[in-house]
């Protein structure tokens, strides 16, 4: 099992009024699953993604990654979990603009504390897997949107995470490029990675094998897609 949410609640304090972003969300995500989380804005999608990505912790309930309950972790231990178990792919790519491609992909390995030789090996392998080996010295602004997102995918893959967490990964790309990126996710899943997409686009969600729909902080539906089954 890759991850498990047990009755996860999240309450924010806003102007002294409690806002319930999540009201008891539970689901399991098995290894090598390909899941899309959908929902309108305000449904708790972002909050759920932050919790799954270990950027935030639940107010109550449990969240387990690889059997480990991370809902009580402090910031530094969460950083460790993010580093080793989560691979982020963001809508806006979120690459370091001043660093070249190689350094961007290498960065998670630096924070993991690997030696330079090992870092080079792993980073090059990840860059090659997204077909950008000839661009390692380029800066992100010298690449197209699709190429940037491929760099982000390489960075997400480099520490061999338990789950790849993609937040609207095609949101800033044209249709054709978006399709290319989704093809990469399909390929990664076929190779055995677990993927969780957060999206509001049905076209994107269609790639997943299972769709979890949120509404008002609750799981509205959780279904294996008929085509996939």
């Amino acid at each position: 099992m890759a991850l498990e949410l047990r009755d996860v609640n999240k309450t924010y304090e806003m102007n002294h009024v409690g806002v319930h972003a999540l009201r008891g969300v539970s689901f399991l995500l098995a290894e090598n699953e390909y899941v899309a989380i959908m929902g309108p804005s305000g449904s708790g999608k972002s909050t759920l993604m932050n919790i799954i990505g270990c950027l935030d912790v639940p107010s109550s309930g449990q969240y387990l990654i690889d059997g480990q309950d991370v809902s009580t972790f402090g910031e530094d231990r969460l950083a460790e979990v993010r580093n080793s178990k989560i691979g982020f792919v963001f809508q806006t790519f979120n690459l370091l603009p001043r660093a070249d491609i190689f350094h961007n992909v290498e960065l998670p390995l630096i924070y993991r504390g690997l030696r330079p030789a090992r870092r080079r090996e792993l980073a090059m392998a990840a860059i090659e897997s997204v077909g950008l080996a000839d661009r390692i010295k380029h800066k992100p602004n010298e690449l197209s949107g699709g190429q940037r997102q491929r760099v982000a995918i390489a960075r997400a893959l480099v520490n061999d995470p338990s789950i790849i967490l993609a937040d609207e990964p095609t949101g800033n790309l044209d249709t054709a490029t978006g399709a290319e990126i989704m093809a990469i996710f399909d390929e990664l899943q076929a190779k055995g990675n677990s993927i969780l997409l957060v999206t509001h686009e049905e076209d994107v969600a269609r790639h997943a094998h299972r769709v979890i729909r949120l509404r008002d902080g609750l799981v509205e539906s959780d279904a294996v897609r008929r085509e996939a089954a």
Binding site: A79, E80, R82, N94, L96, R98, A99, L107, R155
Partner: protein, 411 residues
């Protein structure tokens, strides 16, 4: 993460960030450059002052006591010595007779006269009347020719030994030995040139290289001996404690002066140690005041760095968010920004030190011997890094505490 390794990476990141914003880095560094330049120059000048003073003072032997009318260092109660009788040549002779153990008792006195060689004249030159025993109580020796001997003194010969500066300025490369030097209205035969002794002139003290020694007997005869005050240099016997010996000298002087037990000394005992003590006290104050003033400029420089670091952290909020998302711990972010501010300050410090070498060179040429010493460089580099760490800490702390979600969302 091995911390040395992490530090190296953080340094690389810091350098990259600085390269990306060179102009701002240079401007920020300017404050540190000026601060470090000021601090290093102050320390160097103080050091130079101290060294040149000690060099000059070392001419006075550490085992020599000076019997004088007044203490060398007088703090504001000068009037109380006004009525003391002068020390006379007769008293010097008595003292020498009574102090069996002294290696030498050398009386000397001084006046000022113009000296002239050919068409070259120098006004207000110190003329020192002394004896052949000068060689026993001072470590300075002639580098050319000889000092006068007992016979020269006894015969009241008109011979003189000149200082290095007099030699250079009046004789302009000529061999001065056996030439005639006019001292006041009288001709003296130059028989020796003293080695260079360094100047105490920087402190308003005498310039030991710009003086003329003549036999004390000749001095008294030509320039007047009545009512003239002498100083007695007493060289203590080998192995004697200078403090104990001081009591002996005081005792003999009191006998000579026929002082009652209830009367105070009407003379003073001086020694190099008290001179050095007084000097060191003054130097300490000068250095502290100097460092306090120059420290302000360094402080202002540090505030500039802190300011820029706040800007840098704010500008790079998104970057911090990204780094945290992919696994940077608080400590890694803290280290990154601390290193960045340290590198700025270290670079400023290095430039400041380089400039202070030039400043020391200028001081050396214009004022006194001065050179930037290795310990000062070490202290300056250490202070630079310290300023960087102190100035960078609050911004770096703030960066490390950013919430990754908010930071990622920051545009």
């Amino acid at each position: 993460m091995s911390s040395l390794h992490g530090t190296f990476e953080a340094a690389r990141i810091a350098l990259a960030a600085l390269r990306a914003n060179t102009a701002r880095g240079v401007l920020t560094t300017l404050g540190i450059i000026i601060g470090i330049l000021a601090v290093v120059t102050t320390m160097t000048a103080a050091n130079g002052l101290s060294n040149s003073f000690k060099e000059s003072a070392s001419v006075i032997g550490a085992d020599v006591l000076f019997v004088s009318r007044t203490p060398w260092i007088v703090m504001g109660r000068f009037f109380q010595f006004r009525n003391r009788p002068n020390l006379t040549l007769k008293e010097a002779e008595k003292l020498e007779r009574q102090l069996h153990s002294a290696i030498a008792v050398n009386p000397s006195s001084e006046t000022q006269r113009p000296v002239k060689f050919g068409n070259e004249t120098r006004d207000n030159i110190r003329i020192i009347g002394t004896t052949h025993k000068q060689m026993l109580v001072s470590s300075a020796v002639p580098e050319q020719g000889r000092f006068f001997n007992a016979y020269d003194v006894q015969a009241k010969r008109r011979v003189c030994v000149i200082g290095k500066t007099i030699h250079e300025q009046l004789f302009e490369g000529l061999d001065p030995i056996n030439k005639n030097l006019k001292v006041g209205r009288y001709d003296f035969q130059v028989i020796g040139v003293m080695e260079k002794q360094g100047s105490a002139g920087t402190f308003g003290g005498p310039d030991f290289d710009s003086q003329v020694f003549v036999p004390v007997t000749t001095f008294v005869k030509l320039f007047g001996g009545f009512n003239r005050n002498f100083d007695f240099a007493v060289k203590a016997p080998a192995g004697a404690s200078l403090e104990d010996y001081e009591f002996e000298v005081i005792g003999e002087m009191r006998k000579i002066r026929r002082l009652h037990p209830n009367q105070e000394d009407d003379f003073a005992i001086n020694k190099m140690e008290s001179l050095l003590d007084a000097f060191n006290n003054v130097m300490r104050v000068v250095l502290l005041v100097g460092l306090a003033i120059t420290g302000i400029s360094l402080f202002v420089g540090g505030v500039g760095v802190m300011n820029i670091m706040f800007v840098s952290v704010t500008e790079r909020t998104k970057e911090i968010g990204i780094r945290k998302a992919i696994g940077a711990k608080r400590r890694a972010i803290l280290t990154q920004f601390l290193l960045e501010s340290s590198v700025i300050c270290l670079a400023g410090g290095a430039i400041g030190i380089a400039l202070s070498f030039a400043a020391a060179e200028a001081i050396d040429r214009l004022l006194m011997p001065a050179s930037v010493s290795l310990p000062i460089v070490g202290v300056a580099l250490g202070v630079s890094v310290l300023v960087g760490i102190v100035a960078g800490f609050i911004p770096a702390w703030r960066a490390s505490r950013l919430n990754p979600i908010d930071a990622l969302r920051y545009e």
